[in-house]
Amino acid sequence: MSIQRASRLTPYVFLAPAAAVMAIALLYPVCYMIYASFLDWNPSQRIGEADWIGLRNYINLLSDESFHESFWVTLKFAALVVGAEMVIGVGLALILDRKLRGMSVLRTIFILPMMIAPIVVGLVWRYMYHPTVGLFNRTLADIGVSPVPWLSDGDWAFASVVIADVWQWTPFIFILSLAALQSLPQSALEASRIDGASGWQQIWHIKLPLMMPVLVVTGLLRLIDAFKVLEVILVLTNGGPGLSTEILALRISRTASEFRELGYAAAMANYLLILLMVLTLGMYFYNKVIEARAVRLRKAAAAAAAKEEGA
């Protein structure tokens, strides 16, 4: 009996170190942050000295124009980059999913941007966006087009950060879509060719529907990531000009360091956390639904086979 019990405990023993690290590195700061969000806390105070103000930070945020603006910028940014990345990434995968010579090299080149540290991506793009010596404006000047205020005009700056993010993260969608495409049932695609489907019809009626589970999860993963983006925008625009590119992560960091309102920043971070939790739960339930459907199909198939046996 004791051996049985020991073997039942074994997995937990192996999990313990990871659980301890999680508790210290993740759970502790999160609890700390949740606690801090109920305080009126200034960095010069120790946390014990800060005043407990209950939900006041959360309530104030609801009517804070700058927070609204920042939230809106974040939503717009996330929706735009994920939308563009999905379209371009899936499109590229559909185009490059074929046996051509040199394709493996091309695929490797395509996924390089994803491997570069975000800070470096920010620096490279800032250089390329430079108003006078940047690659873009010099090229435009060469063909006689007047320079574009890439980072100094609000709308252009927003577009610029979107472009940089799309450049970096489209490969992520691309490789996952390509993997999904290559695991599609080949014979079903052949059957559709015989049934008279053109290339487009194959994509629309067979490939995309069958890739959908992967695409949904990929999109949600990217969305979660896009809500947390910080480094590239920090380096490119630091949120400006004005509030045009000030995404939530930047706003939170500024509230803490510049405005010295730690509790307020914590409450803001918690709103973001809630949003991400909703997305994560959405992904979780989507997976559950897909799994449940697979189980239901298998059961029905088994029942059908059993009935056939009996007949």
Partner: protein, 358 residues
Amino acid sequence: MPEIRLDGLKKAYGHVTVIEDLNLQMEDSEFTVLVGPSGCGKSTTLRMIAGLETVSGGAILIDGKDVSQLEPKDRDLAMVFQDYALYPHMNVARNMSFALRLARYPKAEIDDRVKKVAAMLDLSPYLDRKPGELSGGQRQRVAMGRALVRDASTFLFDEPLSNLDAKLRGQMRAELALMRQRIRKNMIYVTHDQIEAMTLGDRIVVMRQGKIMQAGSPEDLYGQPQNMFVAGFIGSPPMNFLPVEVGDENGRITLVGSDLQLALSNAVAARLANHKSRSIILGVRPSHFIRDDAGSIDLQIALSEYIGAQSVLTSELCGRPVHVEVSALKPVRAGEQLRFSLNPDTIHLFDPETEAAL
């Protein structure tokens, strides 16, 4: 229905030639079966006809028109795949109607056709189900249904029954044979199972290593195999091959083996004019041994397998294992000694070098 002709068809993958110089004519509304061991190039041939595989040489002619460069959809054919190849995200009705929907048929006609075919295949209760919810046999019928709804002029089947268990396979084979009588269309059917080939085909094409060994009616192939490969492939249990010498016994041509002597009729003997005193291969179907207490073939039975109406006996003759098929009415036990005779008109003779029939 059109006539299909393969004209010197070739297929190579890099340096490996899989099909070489295939010539075959399939008459109007004929059920042609391509049969042969696994890897002999049956699927490749069928897929070239379908347009799923490019052609390395030669031509595929449908009604005299070379279609070998056309897209599959422009060849007016339907195909049933070995793994069914159903669209997993569409229900049965949508699977069956996919081609018609792409071709923009009126909705009423699509519904009508799907209902008719579903009724014919006993699929009516399952029209709303996804393929994942169906048993293997039902999926198989959906695959058939999807091809039938099309009303294409040619049907291609690539081992459609090989993923089913034995009982279901027999059942589906019978259903196919019935369906075949109702639907007069060109059908090209690939299988490695000679029983399927024999029961379904108007014409059977036996292939080996990318070449046609013989093409003909089931009766032709069984009765007059042109070579040892076909002789051994068609028929179950397979034909026995025995090494014998061509001898001359007082002017009568006789086959002589280590424990066998068989005097031939004049007609058969005439075929051996050029093979006097040479070694040849005698082919005897297991069912052609005649139980005969006065017979000259004396067999020690090593194994007796009772398979219902027949028993298959295993013994040894001319130094080779032989199978003998006898009626199971008189039970035979292993270890018994039995005598048999042969009707010289039922035997087959082969050249040991070329393996061709003599």
